[in-house]
Symmetry: C2
Subunit: 340 residues, 2 copies
């Protein structure tokens, strides 16, 4: 965190930092960050928003823009998202539409945001009729991750992030999966060395995949969707209340792994290794809060479906994937039933 | 207009056309366009909005998105702006943020939109504290101009567009300026051959300049700002009521031309030719609706000013420009006083 001011100056993106954050992060890190930035000659203004999905609205965006326009008298403004995924999505969207785009910096403070949502340039707010229906592709000029922030997380939130970490291991990085198996206890005790490793490895994977297909036009980003087809269906059918995103993804990963085994793409033992690792991290391996039928119904609405065909990212081993279209419904149901 | 459906099919951008327009255009061309598109197998929905600056709001954008999301059941939507600059700005903004961007087509129906605002990818809505403060750079997949639409324009609106046409002549196209001098009567009687010529020549210039500097990062778009520094100041200090955009730009062009003459960049006779042409088109050559002091005050707020320096696009002949920084205030005042 001590390098933040210097890094920002090096980017030459402006002098007035408008930092969108939540009350908890501001209380814990506000003074430190403010001092650090001021030492580098930057002007600082904090704007706190509630860190709930409800903050991701067009109305909230408009209110923030009104506020920041008043701060932007000298026309040397840049916007900083200091928080988790909600704040990153909201601040990124605001940065992308204010004056047709002003410089934007991500300082993710949750594990999920550090390894996933802060990288890739997707910004979004919700409509009543659906999540993330409004947004833009807008790349941050800097993603500044510090595992120090992760100490603010409760264990459940940390583990939710770890579900995405394990996803990266499964799709692209065998060694990362092995590291998680070996060192999960260190992770749970916030060992900074191991957390650094994790964040760096995941960020590299995400950045590489995204840079090959920035606007999701070539289908290369699909791989990142591993575990998310059923994961999203679980989240949505629980009204985004029962399971958090990471927990739903964990369950989705298990269903996808089961499908992979049924399709003989991977060995049964792989599913068991994943299951064991999730259990060690108190991530769910059985579905208790949502009904089978609701999930099956919700999965038809996956936005990644092309026409009427389904499309799954499956495993062909740890660290290797295969994209399969038109997986028979019976296999999906069989795999899902396993989780009840 | 008969080629529209076929053109859209060729683009392969979707099957459901969501057309944002105003009541007048819908009444005059709605059936024709609808039939043409349906013949090509497209589904059509019109959304009319009042064609006033007030429509360019975040609230209006949100309402439109809610409406179009309901139309977008089959996920094969594209958005069409059928109207003038207001509708183009609003529809383009909506297209750029719905689902992080859906295909967008411009069908400009005013001369100003055909030669200027529909080309270049700038979208915008207003905030209470200022115009165009929210928006994006988002290129249309097609700009479909038909001079047939121009017959809906009143003479004052047509002439407002001609001020921008003359701007293109002055900055880049000596022959276009000569054409306007020779054939202005044909233009005023809506001669389609001459109007076609004008729209084609201007569109080419705009497209070329924009393609060299899409996001205004290299200063190459500055040239398009000829006449706009003082033009914007005149518009803003009249509260966007006294003069319309084209009229304000005409006055701004005369001030810039006078400054050019005072700086000995161009001959006095150039100013006189411009003045004569504007008079023939009933464009103002003297400022009557706004005070001298208000304009001088407003011009300090020009968003194109860098730091404290002013920066003017000046003429070094017809069809040639020179960008000059730090024009002495006395010269600006002297040139402006000429217009009272």
């Amino acid at each position: 965190m001590n390098f933040l001011g210097r890094q920002l100056i090096k980017l030459n993106i402006g002098k007035d930092a408008y930092i969108i954050t939540n009350a908890l992060i501001k209380r814990k890190f506000g003074d430190l960050i403010s001092r650090n930035l001021k030492k580098s000659g930057l002007k600082v203004k904090f704007k706190t928003v509630p860190d709930t999905e409800k903050s991701k609205s067009i109305t909230r965006s408009a209110a923030i823009i009104k506020d920041l326009a008043a701060f932007d008298r000298q026309k040397r403004l840049f916007i900083v998202a200091l928080g988790g995924g909600v704040i990153g999505d909201l601040a990124g969207f605001v940065a992308s539409i204010y004056k047709r785009g002003v410089p934007f910096v991500q300082i993710p403070t949750t594990l999920l945001a550090q390894v996933d949502s802060s990288i890739g340039g997707k910004t979004a707010v919700d409509l009543e009729i659906g999540k993330n229906l409004v947004g833009s592709f807008y790349q941050p000029r800097l993603v500044f991750s510090d595992v120090e922030f992760l100490k603010t997380l409760g264990r459940r939130q940390l583990c939710a992030g770890l579900a995405e970490v394990i996803k990266y291991g499964l799709i692209k990085d065998r060694a990362l999966f092995a590291l998680m198996e070996k060192d999960y206890k260190k992770v749970l005790s916030f060992n900074p060395g191991v957390l650094d490793q994790i964040v760096i490895r995941c960020s590299r994977i995400k950045a590489k995949v995204v840079s090959l297909d920035e606007k999701e036009e070539r289908g290369l980003r699909t791989i990142l969707n591993f575990g998310h087809t059923i994961g999203h269906a679980i989240e949505a059918s629980g009204g985004y209340k029962g399971y958090n995103h990471g927990e739903a993804v964990a369950l989705g990963i298990l269903v996808a792994a089961d499908i992979s085994a049924y399709c003989r793409l991977t060995k049964r033992s792989v599913v068991e290794r994943i299951e064991k690792l999730f259990s060690s991290l108190s991530l769910p391996t059985k579905i208790k809060k949502v009904s089978f039928c609701k999930i099956i119904n919700a999965h038809y609405h996956d936005k990644k479906f092309i026409g009427r065909k389904n499309r799954f990212v499956l495993l062909s081993g740890i660290g290797k994937t295969k994209i399969v279209e038109d997986v028979p419904l019976e296999i999906i149901k069989k795999a899902l039933r396993n989780r009840f």
